[in-house]
C-alpha cells in the first residue's frame, strides 16, 4: 500500500512560536500562554478583515522575535487563512521581505503549513521557515454566515470561530522540539450537508489521517502522549473516538481536541471553537509550552479542515474534509 507519510531524517526543529488571541479566547485555557491577549477584537483597526491580517502579521513577527532572529534570517513564510483568496495571509506577507507560499486547508492550514515547512527544510532547500495562520470570528461569520447583529438563534451543533493567530519558526536546528514526521491527508466526504455540524463532517477525515499515520509508521496510538485534533468540537471528538474504535484503534485515553478545550463554554460556543486560528493558537501557545517544559514529549498534531464554500453549500453539495498530521517530539 502506498505510504502517505514522510519520516524526516534531519528532524527539523520548532524554534519558537508567536501567538495572539481575542478576549473570549483569553478567558479560556490559552489566556496564560499567548504572547498578546487582545482586550478589543478590532486590534485598533477599522475592519475585522484588517484586524485578522494584523493578528497574523503580529504572530509571524513575534515568532521571529521569540526565535531571537531578524526578518532577514527567515527564508520563507507558508501561510493561509479562511477568507476568500486567503487575503489575510497574502496581505500579511506584504509586510515581510521574504518569499511567501499561500496555502489553503481551511482549519487544517496550521498542520499543512507546518508539514510543508518541515519537508522543505528536511530536503535541505531552506533553513528557516515561518508557518502561520489565523482566523477572526467576525470576518468568518460574515463570509460564511449572517451579519453579527442579526437576531437569529445559533443551532446547538454549531461552533464558534476562534479570534486569534499563531505562527511558528521551523528551522534546521537549534531546539529540542522536532517535527519528526508528517502524514498528508486525503479528502474525505461522508455526505454531511449541514454546515452547522462541522464536527461530524470533519471527524471521518481526522480518523482516516490518524489511522493512516499509525499504519504507515507502525506505531500504536499510545506511542503519543497526545493525539491532538484541530477543531472537531465536543461532538466531533466523540465521533472520531467512535470511528477509530470501530477500526480497532483506541485513541480515547490520549485524544485532545483544540476546539473542545479552547473555550470555557459560557454563552453560544456550544460544541467549542473552530477556525484556522483555533488549532494554531492552542498548539502554538498551550501545547508548545507543555512540550517545552517536557510535560508532554510526543504529540500527533492533526488539524482538520472543511473544504466547503458558501456557493457549494448553497448548491446542496456535501462537505469534503481534510486532515493533515504532523508528529512533534522532544528529542535530544
Amino acid at each position: 500500500m502506498a505510504k502517505h507519510t514522510i519520516i524526516f531524517d534531519k528532524r527539523p526543529r520548532i524554534l519558537s512560536t508567536g501567538t495572539v488571541a481575542g478576549p473570549k479566547e483569553c478567558a479560556g485555557v490559552v489566556g496564560k500562554y499567548v504572547d498578546k491577549a487582545l482586550a478589543d477584537d478590532m486590534f485598533g483597526e477599522s475592519t475585522y478583515e484588517k484586524a485578522e491580517c494584523k493578528m497574523l502579521t503580529y504572530a509571524i513577527g513575534k515568532a521571529i522575535e521569540n526565535a531571537g532572529m531578524k526578518e532577514e534570517d527567515i527564508d520563507m513564510m507558508i501561510s493561509g487563512d479562511l477568507l476568500n483568496q486567503i487575503i489575510s495571509a497574502s496581505f500579511a506577507a506584504r509586510d515581510f521581505d521574504f518569499p511567501f507560499l499561500g496555502v489553503y486547508g481551511a482549519c487544517s492550514t496550521m498542520s499543512e503549513s507546518l508539514a510543508l515547512a518541515a519537508a522543505l527544510i528536511d530536503a535541505g532547500y531552506f533553513k528557516r521557515i515561518v508557518a502561520a495562520t489565523g482566523s477572526h470570528f467576525s470576518s468568518a461569520e460574515r463570509q460564511y454566515r449572517y451579519p453579527l447583529e442579526l437576531g437569529n438563534t445559533r443551532p446547538p451543533q454549531s461552533q464558534w470561530t476562534v479570534t486569534g493567530a499563531g505562527g511558528t519558526v521551523v528551522a534546521d536546528g537549534g531546539s529540542d522540539i522536532a517535527v519528526t514526521g508528517a502524514t498528508f491527508g486525503k479528502v474525505v466526504d461522508f455526505g454531511i450537508t449541514d454546515v452547522n455540524n462541522m464536527g461530524a463532517a470533519m471527524a471521518p477525515a481526522a480518523c482516516d489521517t490518524i489511522l493512516t499515520h499509525l499504519r504507515d509508521t507502525g506505531r500504536e496510538a499510545d506511542y503519543y502522549d497526545l493525539i491532538v485534533t484541530g477543531d472537531l468540537g465536543a461532538l466531533g471528538s466523540r465521533i472520531v473516538k467512535d470511528l477509530t474504535w470501530e477500526k480497532g484503534v483506541d485513541i480515547q485515553p490520549n485524544h485532545v481536541d483544540c476546539g473542545e478545550i479552547v473555550y470555557n463554554v459560557i454563552e453560544d460556543e456550544f460544541q467549542g471553537g473552530s477556525g484556522a486560528g483555533c488549532s494554531a493558537v492552542v498548539f502554538s501557545s498551550y501545547l508548545y509550552d507543555k512540550l517545552k517544559r517536557r510535560e508532554i514529549n510526543r504529540v500527533l498534531f492533526a488539524a482538520t479542515g472543511a473544504l466547503l464554500s458558501t456557493v457549494s453549500s448553497g448548491q446542496g453539495e456535501s462537505i469534503p474534509c481534510i486532515c493533515h498530521a504532523v508528529s512533534i517530539e522532544n528529542v535530544r
Binding site: L148, E149, L150, G151, N152, T153, R238
Partner: protein
C-alpha cells in the same frame, strides 16, 4: 468502494450523526417566543393608545405605530442589543416588524466597510430581500384567488 456501497455507508453515518442531535425544547421555545413577541406587541399597543390620545386614527395611526416599532428595532440593532434578545427569544423577536427592521439594519451595519453604495446599500437587503419577494408574490396570488372568487 462502489457507488451503491458508498451511498449506504454515508446514509448510515448520517443516521449515526443525527442520533447525537440534542432534543429541541419546543414547549420552552414557544413559551419564550410568546413572552417576548407578546411584549413587543404590548409596546406597539402602548404606542397606539398614546397616539390615539393625540388624535390619530385609522391608517395614520397604524402607520405611525409601525414606524415607531421599526425605529425601535433599528435602534436596538445599532446598539447591539437586538441580536442578544433574538438569541434567546427565537421567533418571538424575528416575526414582529422589529425583527424585519433588524434584518435590514444588521447587514447595513456589517457591510458599510465596503462603501455606502456597494456595501451598505447593496447588501442591505440580503436577508430581508427574500421576505419581500415572497411576501409580494404570495400577496399577489392570494389577491388573484380572492378576485376570482368574486
Amino acid at each position: 468502494m462502489t457507488e451503491k456501497n458508498r451511498e449506504n455507508y454515508n446514509k448510515n453515518y448520517i443516521a449515526y450523526v443525527n442520533s447525537f442531535d440534542p432534543p429541541t425544547h419546543h414547549f420552552k421555545n414557544c413559551l419564550r417566543a410568546f413572552g417576548v413577541g407578546g411584549f413587543i406587541c404590548c409596546i406597539g399597543q402602548f404606542f397606539r393608545v398614546v397616539l390615539e390620545a393625540f388624535g390619530l386614527s385609522g391608517d395614520e395611526l397604524a402607520g405611525t405605530v409601525s414606524v415607531l416599532l421599526i425605529f425601535l428595532g433599528t435602534l436596538l440593532t445599532g446598539l447591539g442589543v437586538y441580536d442578544r434578545i433574538g438569541r434567546n427569544a427565537g421567533a418571538g423577536s424575528i416575526v414582529p416588524i422589529t425583527g424585519f427592521a433588524n434584518s435590514v439594519c444588521s447587514p447595513a451595519i456589517e457591510f458599510k466597510t465596503e462603501g455606502l453604495i456597494y456595501g451598505l446599500a447593496a447588501k442591505m437587503f440580503v436577508v430581508a430581500g427574500p421576505i419581500i419577494v415572497y411576501g409580494v408574490l404570495s400577496g399577489t396570488i392570494v389577491g388573484i384567488i380572492y378576485w376570482l372568487l368574486g
